[in-house]
Every structure is written in structure tokens, then in C-alpha cells.
Symmetry: C2
């Protein structure tokens, strides 16, 4: 026998026991402790689940413990499971440490069978209610425990409604439901070969097992992967006395938020259904009423609910998302948890709560998920655009998206993998659709309210969702829907506006987002606390302006190669590469010079007073040339077509040169500072353009802060000679112009050898910028181009790698090199500036790493600058509270 305690009465727990009792269990315990009206019950701990996952059976002693707590519950209520006169009915619900809405299983009304049903009828004097509960129980239990397809039961329910000519489940009579119970039991017998289990103790045991099993069902695993929830947390099981929202028109069930989870407004917000059980609301099968109507329908209970919610928010100091049931006029609280919210709401709530004195600035900062900010900084529909609005549904998750219509989650995933943008259109979404929601740009559902599964999941992901668009006439068989007289087929383009609930025909033009006052306030606070600087990666004056608007404190990476691709420029660049002599090359470079100078002038002006780090040319030259195989094919075609010898000779010459420039592994070839050794003219031209631009704008009164960055250094000597040449050119320009412009010269650290020998390299560098994209490639030996297409997806699927190292900085490997380089560099130059300009500079956990390592700044895309400011301040304040999970 184990000494472990696996089962806890609600009276025994509290909100701090989240990891042991799950979110739901610990909060039920907390509410019980605080005296809120909670139906009695007990919780089986996550530890029991974890033991079960290992040995695939109850750990020693668990059966006895459950029996003991069950006996205690029965004696407190003076009711017994299986009592044919007055049966105790139970709900059996999963509850993991982090909320995973709808991902795991729940069984309600457990304890019913052909004998106890009569006792329930007698006790409630309500045959219709009793059989409604019974048919629900058989369906849920069969679905979850016996694995009989739920659709079979739903089909019979629809058939019955059709037969009776009614629309609502509530319109079915007790006899209809009784008949349905018989049909349901037959389905079970037919599908499983066995009778539906009668013994309530067996029912309870099987239900608990099923909840344990559900921790490892595929949709729960997918959800955990998406939200990076650890697989070894396990779920608790909550066994609770049933209360009934479906006992007649004085009964109801609903969900509510203490503040509006879409806008953040301080107004309770929710939905309810009269005479229904909880899953009717959440599953979105019937469209519920807004919460304030409850005030008219049941003013007393409504008042009580408002008071409870107010107290809960004050107690938890955060927005609460509650489930409640009204049984014949009496209020019961079934759940409370931190409310998920949109990014807009999160910001407003955080700012308001600071203003209300409920939380501190630091807490407000910690409560915003930086990743969620992304949705605010996504484009929205241009208000001036002319739109063909087909219909309006519920604005279930803000933002806008355009894509091809798909009608199921698998197709959504396939099309997305094929590079297409899709909108997932469903009757309603279920937890089984999770992979489709991940793959889609947005979700449109016919049924369901603001708290339906689709809405909750989409908001969590920051994807637009329009829900409850009942006007939409869906025809899955023919893969189309009709709406407002139009027929839309699979593959047609629609747009959705999740902020206004609009469904729009065709593509729409989107405009870039800006920083709202709430975001502005949070970012102001964030700036107070953060230690990391935040710069942007920007290659054009436009991007530079945007970056500055978003609060960038400089440009951490200006890629000069992008400037080589313009229509006027590419031919010059090609000519430069194909030059046969150095003199010829110099001449072409002279023609490129004015173009580059203009680029730099614009950027220096936009960033006046702030540092601009300009990286000299980095990619292999053949990126600018035609493809070798294409040329060979063209040449063969020319020969067969009998083109003139002169043209053929010219093409052959081009081919010859392109062949000479083509490399086996260009990523590891002639690029970066290696170019400057072989073709010194290129960097010379670029440095000249930079310094001439700096002189010009300074003369106009701007304040250029020049940082010249030399890429792909592996050995200190490369930097020494490249730096020497650059300084010579700088001096030439300043002498010619008779001006003085301050400048720094530094290098990228993007090769393992550079990181390992950073002490030597630092001798010739005023700053380092970690190019973690390239560093990840060489540290892992992964070519990003090839890896993502060839094996990385499989690696993530098989969990060989926990995350994609090109998205989230690999702290153990790449991070170790970054950390080593920082320590070595500071040994040589204690004050050296250290930044990061890989894509990781805009990813929250990587930003946390950069803070910890003591970098000077991170640099990311302009739209991610606010995110980076927030993540940097969270890193400075300490581990962020997990408010979203």
C-alpha cells in the first residue's frame, strides 16, 4: 500500500494546489473554503493520473481512497449512488493544472440506470427532466467511456425532433425522451456487443478511467504541443454532486466573465440557456442568450450571481470565467478560472486594474502574454474599403483574415501545408478540429456563441473568428454554402472580420495596425522596468519609420543585399559580378554607389539620433545571377532552335561565369567578409556610400549614428583586415568632405568559431551582433532551406526536437555559444555592445534568454518591437505569471 494521499474533499484544498488538484479542482476547493455555493464533491489528484499513465491501472490504494471519499460524500448529502428511491447523481470532470478547454472528457448525470431513473422521477416529480438527464448520460458515457460515435446519438435526436416537428430539444416530451433512451441503449448494444453498464459503481470507475485516458488523447496532445504545456502534468478528476439547469424554466445554466473578454470593458459578460445543461452552452449547439437578459428573467438569482462574481474577481485579483447553474431558482457555482481574453482586453483589463488599485504595474506587465500582442499588430480591414458583406455573425475573436474556404480540419491542414491561406467553415467546431483551427487564417461557424469552443480557441490563438452565423446555409456534402443569395464553394475566397462579425466576399485590403492607448500605457510601464534595449531590423526608410513609431531605439540590422534587387540595380549587380577585370568591376561599382547612398540617406534621416547598424553584403554572389540549370536548358534550346552563333557565344560566356560562381553549399561558401577578400571593391563601395550618406544628412541637420557591421567572421584576422580597409575608406570620405562623423565598426557573431574565439575578435570590434539564424544553422548543421522542407517537421512531430530552433532559440546549444561569446568578449572589452539580430530577437522566451545573458539589445522586425519591449520588461521583472494557460 502506498502512503500517498490521492483524493481530496473540496474542503481539504485551496487555489494554491493547482498542480495537485488541477485548475478546476483547486478553484472548486477555494470557492468551497470561501463559502460560495458549490455542489459538494472531491478531487482525485494529478499524481494519481500520472501513476495511472505509467502503469495503465489505478495505483495501489486509490480504489479504497475513492470509496472512502465517496462514502463520506454520500453521508454528508444523505444520498447514495444507485439508491433506487433517491439516487445520488454525479458529474465526473477532468481538470488539468492548465486549462485546456474542451480537450478532455466529462461525464454528467452519472448514476442513472433503469432502476434509479424511477427514483429520480419520483424525487423530482419531473419525468421529462429525468429522461432528458438519462438520455444525455447514455450519450456522454457511450461517447467518452465506451467510444461509440457521438454522431449516432445526435442523428437519432435530430430524427426525433424532425418526427415530432419541433426545433428545440426542450420541445421534446418525456415520452419522446424515454423512446430515445431505448434507441440509445440499442445503439450501445449494437456497437459494443454489450448492454449499457447498469451498476453506478462500475459507471463511476469506468468514467474515472476514461478521464485518466483522455489526458493522452490525440487532441489533448496537439493542444499541449501548441501551447507548450508539459505532457507530464497529468489531469485531476473532479467528482461532484450533480445540480440541474434542465429542471424546468426556473432552471438555467451559463458561463460568464467578470469583464468583457473581447474588449476588456468592466461589464460582466456571459451567456445562458434556460432549462439546459452546461455542455449545451459550451458546445454551441443552441445559441444562448446574453447574460443581462437573466436580470429580467430571474432578478434575484442574477443579483446573487453578480455579487459572487464581483467577490471572486476581488479575491483572485483577475478576471474570472465562471460556470454556473440555477437549479429551480438556486444558484450553484460549478467552476471559476482566470478568464482568457483577447490582447485588446488583456491590455485594457491590466491598465484598468492598475488604475483601480487592484494590481501593481509590474503585475500588469506580467499579465500580458507578449505572443498575444502579435494579434494587435496584425493588419485589419481598411475602413474605407468597399466590402461585399454577405452576413454578420458574432464577433467572436478580433482581427481580419482572407483565405480559401475549406470545410474540414484535415483539409485546412493539408492546404496550409501546401502554402495556402484558408478559412475554416464549420457548423460548430469541436475539440477534434483543433489542428484545423491552428492551420486556418480564421474560423467561421454557423452555430455557437461568444463562449463557444471555436471562439475560445480562436481568441487564444489571436485568430479572427466569426461565430453563430446562423444565416449561413451549409451543404457539406456538396462542399459549398449559400449566404445572402450567393453560393460559395470550397476554394473560393472569403474574408472575415472577427472584430465586427462580418463575413465578406472575396479578398479585402488590410491596413497595418497601430499602438492603442492601452498598449501605449503598458509599454511605457514596460520601458521603465526593462534592461534590454530594443531595436528593429529594417532595410528601407519606410520600415525604419514604422520601427521608430513602435518604439525601436535604433536599427540593429539593415541588410544591404535587399538594396541590390531593385529593377535598376540588379543588372548592374550582375554586370559587377561578371566583370572580367578588377577595373571593369570598379566601374560598375561606381554606378551602384549613388543608389546605395540614397538608401542610406533615407534610413539615416528616419532614424536621426538613433544608431543604425548596417551590415555589408552577406549572401553569395550567385544569388544575384540566373540559375545554372536554367541557363544550360536555355542554351540547349537555343542550339536546337538555330539561334545565331553570336547569341549562343554570349549565353555560353554567361553560363561559364555562373558555373564558376555556383557552389555546392553556398551557405558555407564565398559570402560575407570572404567576399571582401576576393572582391574588395564591393565593401569599399558600400562603406563609401554609407559615409557619404552620413555626411550629406549631417549637413542637412540630421544626426546619423553609424554602425558598420562585417558579417560571417570566423577568425579574428578576417575582421582585422576587413576593418582596416573599411577604415581607410571612411577616412578618405571624411577627408574629402572635410567633416567628422562618429562611427563604430563591429561584427556579426554567427559562426561557432567566432563565438569560441570572441575574446580575440572583440579586440577589433566595437560591437557584436549575434546572427542566431546562421548560428543555428552551423551549430546544428541544419540548412534552414533544406531542413524545414526535408526533416524538421518530422523532427517536431516525433518530438526529436522540442521546438523549431529557428523560431525559439536553442538555449542549450546555440545559447551556450552566445553566452560563451558574451563572457569572452567582456573579458577583452567590458563595455562592448552586444545585440542579437536573428529572428529570435522577436520571440519572447528567446528575449528572456537575451536578458539573462546580459545582452545590450535585441533587434526584431518592426511589428514585433512592442512585443519585444514587453517581453524584455517581463524578463527584468521576473518569471511571468502564467495567466493564459
Amino acid at each position: 500500500m502506498s502512503n500517498k494521499k490521492y483524493v481530496f474533499d473540496f474542503e481539504e484544498g485551496n487555489t494554491g494546489m493547482k498542480f495537485l488538484l488541477g485548475g478546476k479542482g483547486s478553484n472548486l476547493a477555494e470557492m468551497t473554503r470561501l463559502g460560495f455555493p458549490v455542489p459538494q464533491g472531491y478531487t482525485i489528484s494529478t499524481e494519481a493520473c500520472n501513476e495511472y499513465s505509467k502503469i495503465r491501472k489505478y495505483p495501489d490504494g486509490l480504489t479504497e481512497e475513492i470509496e472512502e471519499h465517496q462514502r463520506r460524500l454520500e453521508s454528508k448529502l444523505s444520498k447514495e449512488l444507485g439508491d433506487t428511491n433517491d439516487p445520488l447523481l454525479l458529474s465526473v470532470r477532468s481538470g488539468a493544472p492548465f486549462s485546456m478547454p474542451g480537450m478532455m472528457d466529462t461525464v454528467l448525470n452519472l448514476g442513472l440506470n433503469d432502476e434509479t431513473i424511477d427514483g429520480l422521477v419520483r424525487q423530482t416529480r419531473n419525468e421529462r427532466f429525468a429522461y432528458d438527464a438519462y438520455r444525455r448520460f447514455i450519450m456522454m458515457f457511450s461517447d467518452i467511456v465506451l467510444k461509440v460515435d457521438r454522431e449516432k446519438f445526435e442523428h437519432e435526436l435530430r430524427a426525433m425532433k424532425k418526427k415530432r416537428g419541433v426545433k428545440q430539444d426542450t420541445e421534446l416530451t418525456a415520452d419522446d425522451l424515454k423512446e430515445l433512451v431505448g434507441i440509445y441503449k440499442n445503439i450501445v448494444k449494437e456497437k459494443t456487443g454489450k448492454e449499457f453498464p447498469k451498476d453506478p459503481k462500475v459507471q463511476l470507475d469506468k468514467a474515472i478511467n476514461a478521464v485518466f485516458e483522455s489526458w493522452n488523447n490525440p487532441r489533448a496532445k496537439t493542444y499541449r504541443k501548441t501551447y507548450k504545456i508539459s505532457d507530464d502534468l497529468g489531469t485531476a478528476v473532479n467528482i461532484q454532486t450533480m445540480v440541474f439547469g434542465n429542471k424546468g424554466n426556473d432552471s438555467a445554466t451559463g458561463v460568464a466573465f467578470t469583464r468583457n473578454p473581447s474588449t476588456g470593458e468592466k461589464d460582466s459578460f456571459g451567456e445562458y440557456l434556460i432549462n439546459a445543461q452546461g455542455e449545451d452552452v459550451v458546445a454551441g449547439i443552441r445559441t444562448p442568450k446574453p447574460l443581462d437578459e437573466l436580470g429580467a428573467e430571474m432578478p434575484g438569482v442574477y443579483g446573487e450571481l453578480m455579487k459572487v462574481m464581483d467577490n471572486l474577481e476581488k479575491h483572485y485579483r483577475d478576471v474570472q470565467d465562471v460556470e454556473f447553474t440555477i437549479e429551480q431558482g438556486k444558484l450553484y457555482m460549478l467552476q471559476t478560472r482566470t478568464g482568457k481574453r483577447t490582447a485588446v482586453a488583456a491590455l485594457k483589463i491590466a491598465v484598468d486594474m492598475v488604475n483601480e488599485g487592484l494590481i501593481t504595474e509590474e503585475e500588469a506587465i506580467k499579465r500580458i502574454d507578449p505572443a498575444q500582442l502579435d494579434q494587435l499588430l496584425h493588419p485589419r480591414i481598411d475602413p474605407k474599403a468597399e466590402l461585399e458583406v454577405l452576413a454578420t455573425g458574432l464577433p467572436a475573436s478580433p482581427g481580419a483574415a482572407t483565405g480559401e474556404v475549406v470545410f474540414d480540419a484535415d483539409t485546412a491542414e493539408e492546404e496550409n501545408n501546401a502554402g495556402k491561406k484558408v478559412i475554416l467553415v464549420r457548423w460548430e467546431t469541436t475539440p477534434d478540429d483543433i489542428h484545423g483551427v491552428i492551420a486556418a487564417q480564421g474560423v467561421l461557424t454557423v452555430h455557437g456563441g461568444m463562449t463557444s469552443h471555436a471562439a475560445v480557441v480562436a481568441r487564444g490563438m489571436g485568430k479572427p473568428c466569426v461565430a453563430g452565423c446562423e444565416a449561413l446555409n451549409l451543404d457539406l456534402e456538396n462542399q459549398l454554402f449559400k449566404l445572402n443569395g450567393k453560393t460559395i464553394k470550397a476554394g473560393d475566397i472569403i474574408s472575415i472580420d472577427g472584430s465586427a462579425g462580418r463575413v465578406i466576399l472575396g479578398e479585402v485590403s488590410l491596413i497595418p495596425p497601430s499602438v492603442s492607448p492601452d498598449l501605449q500605457k503598458i509599454l511605457e510601464w514596460a520601458d521603465k522596468y526593462r534592461k534590454l534595449g530594443v531595436r528593429a531590423n529594417a532595410d528601407t526608410p519606410e520600415d525604419a519609420k514604422k520601427a521608430r513609431e513602435f518604439g525601436a531605439e535604433g536599427i540593429g540590422l539593415c541588410r544591404t543585399e535587399h538594396m541590390f534587387f531593385g529593377d535598376e540595380r540588379l543588372p548592374l549587380v550582375q554586370q559587377m559580378i561578371l566583370s572580367e577585370t578588377d577595373e571593369e568591376r570598379e566601374k560598375v561599382l561606381e554606378k551602384l554607389l549613388p543608389h546605395q547612398r540614397v538608401d542610406f540617406e533615407g534610413i539615416f534621416k528616419a532614424m536621426t539620433g538613433l544608431p543604425v547598424t548596417i551590415r555589408l553584403l552577406d549572401p553569395p554572389l550567385h544569388e544575384f545571377l540566373p540559375n545554372l540549370a536554367d541557363l544550360r536548358v536555355e542554351l540547349v534550346e537555343m542550339r536546337f532552335k538555330g539561334v545565331s552563333e553570336v547569341e549562343i557565344a554570349a549565353k555560353e560566356k554567361l553560363l561559364h561565369k555562373v558555373r564558376a560562381e555556383t557552389e555546392m553549399n553556398p551557405m558555407l561558401g564565398l559570402r560575407g567578409c570572404r567576399l571582401s577578400v576576393i572582391y574588395p571593391g564591393i565593401y569599399k563601395m558600400q562603406v563609401r556610400a554609407i559615409m557619404e550618406a552620413a555626411c550629406s544628412v549631417k549637413k542637412e541637420g540630421f544626426e546619423p549614428v553609424v554602425e558598420i557591421m562585417i558579417p560571417l567572421v570566423s577568425h579574428a584576422n578576417e575582421l582585422i583586415i576587413t576593418r582596416e580597409k573599411a577604415e581607410k575608406t571612411v577616412k578618405e570620405v571624411l577627408d574629402e568632405r572635410k567633416m567628422d562623423v562618429a562611427y563604430k565598426i563591429g561584427t556579426m557573431i554567427e559562426l561557432p568559431r567566432a563565438a569560441i574565439t570572441a575574446d580575440k575578435i572583440a579586440e577589433s570590434a566595437e560591437f557584436f551582433s549575434f546572427g542566431t539564424n546562421d548560428l543555428t544553422q552551423t551549430t546544428f548543421g541544419f540548412s534552414r532551406d533544406d531542413a524545414e522542407a526535408k526533416f524538421l517537421a518530422r523532427y517536431l512531430e516525433d518530438k526529436i526536437l522540442p521546438v523549431n530552433p529557428f523560431e525559439v532559440l536553442d538555449q542549450k546549444g546555440v545559447g551556450h555559444l552566445v553566452d560563451t561569446a558574451c563572457k569572452l568578449a567582456r573579458k577583452t572589452k567590458p563595455d562592448i555592445k552586444l545585440g542579437i539580430c536573428g529572428e529570435h530577437g522577436g520571440e519572447p522566451s528567446s528575449i528572456g534568454f537575451c536578458h539573462k545573458t546580459g545582452l545590450t539589445y535585441v533587434s526584431c522586425s518592426p511589428y514585433r518591437v512592442p512585443l519585444a519591449r514587453l517581453a524584455a520588461s517581463q524578463a527584468a521583472i521576473g518569471v511571468s505569471e502564467d495567466t493564459t494557460k
Copy 2:
């Protein structure tokens, strides 16, 4: 004024002052100290040269110090520079810390002018001698100090001999020489616009300057690069009283070795010329006589010389290479130094000296340059081959080679760079030809003896050389030579046999070398002292046998991909890759299985009792497929030619698949253990073949020691899952065969991330093998294929990198990762086996690093195994003595 002492009389120095006084200076001092007959003089230190190199003028105080020592020399001899009655004549010779034969400059007979010449004539009563000295002085001084082309003077000398109808310089009369002096002075005036400098003090000053300058002349720089001699050592300048080997037939000059430098036999060996100055011997202009003839010509002096040489060898405890001059019957020693020798000689001398009790085993081991062993282990001419021998010259450097004839050093270098093998054919080689000797397979000269420049340099490099092949009729103008009635043109193929002096027409078949008794003895000693194991990289049973013969203690790397290229196999491999389904692929793999099994059986048998590390498939699959561009071109051609649709469709299908497999950077793509994730069948087949082979040979009584190696791991999880799968297959085979075969599973460490996380990886590995080729690629970010062609040569030329990191392990970068990995791995598993199987495993300095890092073994090509055994023992004994530089 500086306090430094820059100038030292010979009496002030000793042999330990090599770095300050140079090799020649310190040994002249040592010989003076020991009472050997050395003409008096003084040495200007290398420090003076280094100061000069920095400031391009004499450092403060040097002029005064030279004057002081010059005065002291003059007073000791009672002779003065510039004395018109009895002039002192000087030699001014360079002498660096490491011998660089012929690389730097020497001026003899300094002090002559139109006045002092008369004094010399009077004192010597030998007008012919005096004018011979004078004309030599003008030529050397003009060549070295005034930079007038030496050829101008040589031309006039030849013209004079022709005019007089004589063959030898010695046949010219005093008047001829006097006339020649006049002609020489005119050449100087014409070429420089100035008179030849008359003042002996000016002559001395200019000569010293010229020696300083010569340290940085291009041929000296090339030599230092080849022999890895540091540029900042500088050269000393030795100023010594002239003695004359050209004072008549009782005078002579020569060079001698205390033992034979080609064979190592304990016989003094050398050459001399009667009535000549030293440079006549070294430059190979006249063909000298063998030393033992001196015994007949001058028995007394010969006896004295033999005694001096014997004493010198005993004193220095190593073979000495001496220069001597006999002036009118009196012996003078002009130089002694450690004698360069062939690998064969080095081995024999080392073994003999141990047997003679002169040195210890450890000293013997330290005296063999491991790199030099390479020449012993190169192929030689099959003694049974029928050869068309054109002529026989001197066997100047052993070994054999075949190549295209080239007639100058630049062409040799060009052709070599273009991948051709060449034999350099010259009248004689000069230090200016050094780059041609490096580039050629072997050297053939018309003039010169065993100690000529060509012979010394070729022996040092382990290249075959035939010298003094006077029968060869060279016609440089027409780029051909005639020999034995045949005309050989540039580009024709010849072979040379440097061990027998033979010149052979056409290609010859070479046979592999074996281990001589001397080498065997040295290696036996080496094995006693070394700590590192030595294994071989071998992919076939033949290579495995050879490796075992050479003393390999196992196979460190057996590359299975080479087995995929056989005629029968490649089509199967292609079919396997192009399989559309897993089942199809499995079927093809089944057909490949027996082939692989046979390979492994042969290798296990050859290595019975010794470990065999087999690496599972490593390269990207598209290496086995046709080239994408080729296929595209073929397809276009097929279309134009109107080939049938069926054939086109088949080709298109192939193209499609090849395109899918083609990668941007295959080095960083789908290869190594990544293949096993995507196509698990390949490794499964290979592991099955390995274990089936092991079972079969074990049944036959052999003792297979199986080590399965998984390549390209970057994350511990890759090894975990690949290992699990492999172990499953191993178990299957052993169960089927009902046998037990011990095996280990380990991994390559060839990616930076693997090195950094070696502690985690070691949890699943019984051994590591460092793949330093790949590790160098990713650590530097250099693709070997591209870097060597595109920029690495330039990097070495510009000294951005000191050595090619693919040849010599980069200890600061790549080595740091290796060291880190070893430390981390031992933390997890103190006894883990750690090896290296990159090409660095056969390179002496890298082997030293492996010893220091505490690796278990190195693995290299079979022919390098003896070298590795020796280098490993040297590393264990301590820093090797520098006997070759």
C-alpha cells in the same frame, strides 16, 4: 643609444645561442670554443635583423658595435680591410635559426677593389687566384647587393671560356680573369648608372644591409611558409675572414656528411672541388668529386677532416653536415649543422646511434619527423616492370614518380593547380625554383650533385630527384630535351626513380611500400611510449589488411557509403531512393543486404580480434542520383529529338524525384542519422547486414569486434531513437541466429551542438569518434568543396589563416570544441572511448593535440598508420626536437 648587445665575436658564443646567432653563427662559435680550425670572425644577431625589418635601418648603436668588432678582428689578425698592401678579405653570410639552404644571400671576397687587388696579388703571389676572387666578388656583390642580374655575368664567363676554347673555369688565365673584371665593372656601370663601390667599408655596410633585406625576399618567404618557420625569427649575419679553396691545386672546397644522408650508412660522405670556392659545389655548376677521392689526392688533410668530423658528430650526438675549405694544404671548417637526411637514412641513423650507445630510444623517436615517413610509405617502381630507361643520373632523393614534363617552376605550379602531375626538368634548380619543386611530383636536373640545391630540397620534401643527368640534352627554347636518341617534349610523360637515379620513358607501375626493419624497430620503440591508440580508416578488406600490416589496432572508420557505388549496387541504390512507397523501398533494401553483408564479412575476417567501427550511411541520398541539371538538359534534348512520350514520361518521373531530393546545401541537409528518421529502412538493413556478417564469421571461428557508429547527431534525442531502432534489429538477428556477439553503439561528434551537449549525448553512446572534417566545416562555416576552390588558397596566401584547417586541426576553434566534448563526455561516462577519424588523425601536430586532450585513439588512412604511431609516441615523450629545420 640602446643597451642591447647586437654583435658577438665567435669566441663569445656557443651552440645554445641558435635563436640569437642563427644556426651557422652559433655553430661557428661552438667550433671555435672547441678548438676546431675556424677562420675568425663575428656575428650580428637576429635581433638586429628584426629591428632592421621594423624600421628599415640599423638600430641605434649597431654601426658603432660593428666597427668595434671589426677593429678587434683586424687587430687579432694584424690585417686591415682596405689595406692596399695586405688587404683583409671577408665573407658576409646570412644564418637564420633554422637552416634555409640557399634561400638567403652571401657575399664572398669582400674588401677587393682596384687598389687592394694589387696587395692581394703581392701577398699571394698568385695573380690568377686574385683576379678569380675579384671577378667572383663583383658578380656576387652585384647580384645580391646591387640587384644586377647574375646571368649577365655568367654569360660573359661562358663567352670567355668559349673564346679561349676551354671547358673549366680553372682553365682561364689571370689575364682572362682580369679582362673579365673589366667587363664586369662595365656591366655594373651600365645597369646601375654608377661605378662599382670601391670603399671596402661601404661594401661591408651594403652587404650587411642586403643580408638583412634577404630575410624578406620572396623565395625565403615561400620556404618559410612551406616549412612552417615563423617570419619573426630574423637572420643573423656572419662576418668571417676569407679562406680560399681557389688558391691552386693544393686548395679545395667541399661539403661532407658524417654519415650518408641518403642511406644512413655510417660512412662519411661528401663532395669537393679542387681549386674552387664553396658556392661552386653547392650551386651545382661544376660536378664535384666524391669525398673519398680526397683521401688519395690529399691524404693528410683528408685524415684531419675525418677526425674533425668524427669529433663533431660525437660532440653534437647527431649527423653533421659540414662545409670545409682547404687553403694551400691547411684545413678550415666553415660550417657545421645537423645533416638533413632522407627518411630511410633518418631511421637507420637513429637505430644505429641507439645501438652505438650515442642516444636513447626516446631521442631516436624524437629525431624522426613523422611527416617524412610519408615518403617511405609511398609507392615505388615495381622491380619486375619492364622499363625503358633513357639514362641514369645521380640518385639524389629516393622514391619514384611519373608525370608530364615541364621546364619551369611557374608552369609546374600552374599545371599542378590544374590537377596535373608533373616532373620538373631543369639545368639545375636555384632557390627561385622552390615553388616549382613543391608543385612537381619529382625533379630531374642536368647538372649538380647529391648536395646540389635540387637534391637537398627534394630530399627534405620526400620527393624523388634525379640530379646530374649530364647526358640530357636540354633545349629550353623549343621546350624539349633529347636523351638516348629520343625527343621528349613538354607534356610528354616520363618517370624518375630517385632511389636508383633512373630516367624512364612513359608511365611505370608502382608498388606499395612496406615497413623496413629500421622503421619496424623505431615503431616498436614508439609503441612502448605512446598512450594514444592508432586505428585506420578502411572501407574494404584489402585496406583493412594493409592497415593491420602497418600496425593499426582496429578500424576507426569504415564508411559504408563507398559500398553503395559498385556496378551491381548503384542501380539498386537508385531504385531504393526512387521508391514511391515504404514497401517498395524495403524490397530493394532486401536485395542490397547480401552485398553489404559480404563486405562486412571480409572486413571482420581481416580485423579478427580488433574493433571495427562501422559508420551507417552518411551522405545525402542525391549523391547517388543523376545530376538535376543534366536531367533537365537531357529532357529538353529528348523533346527536340522527338523521343517517344513513354520515354519522356519516365525521364520526367526521374527528374521529379531527383528534384525532390536536391538540396540547397546538402552538407547541412538530409543526411546521416536524419536519413534514419525519414527512411528508417536503410539503417535497419545496414545494422542487419553488420550483425549477420558478425554471426557468420564468428561461426567460422573469427572474432568480430563490432562497433556501430551513428553519424551527424546534433541532439541527444536523435541518438536515442536511432540507437533504439538499431538495438531492436541487433536483437532480432541474434535471436534468429541464436548467437551472442558483443557490440557497441556510438556516435560521431561532428557538429558544434553535439560537442557542446556531449554530456547528454554520452548517455546513449559507448564511444565517440570526432569527425573533424565536418566539424571544421560547421565550426568555420566553410564548405570544403567550395572554400578550397573559392577563397581558402587566398586566405593562406594573405595569411588570414596560418594553415589550412582541413589539413591541420584548428586547435583554438575546432580543438576547443573537441576538448569541451571530451570533458563533458567523461563527466557522464569516465571510461567512454574517444577517437578521431577526420583526416587530422594522420597529421602530426593534430595527433599531438589528440594526445594532450586525452583521446583514446586516432584513426587515419592505412599508409599513415606508422606516421601516427610515431607522432603519438613523440607527443607522449614530450615536445619533439627540431632536427629538420
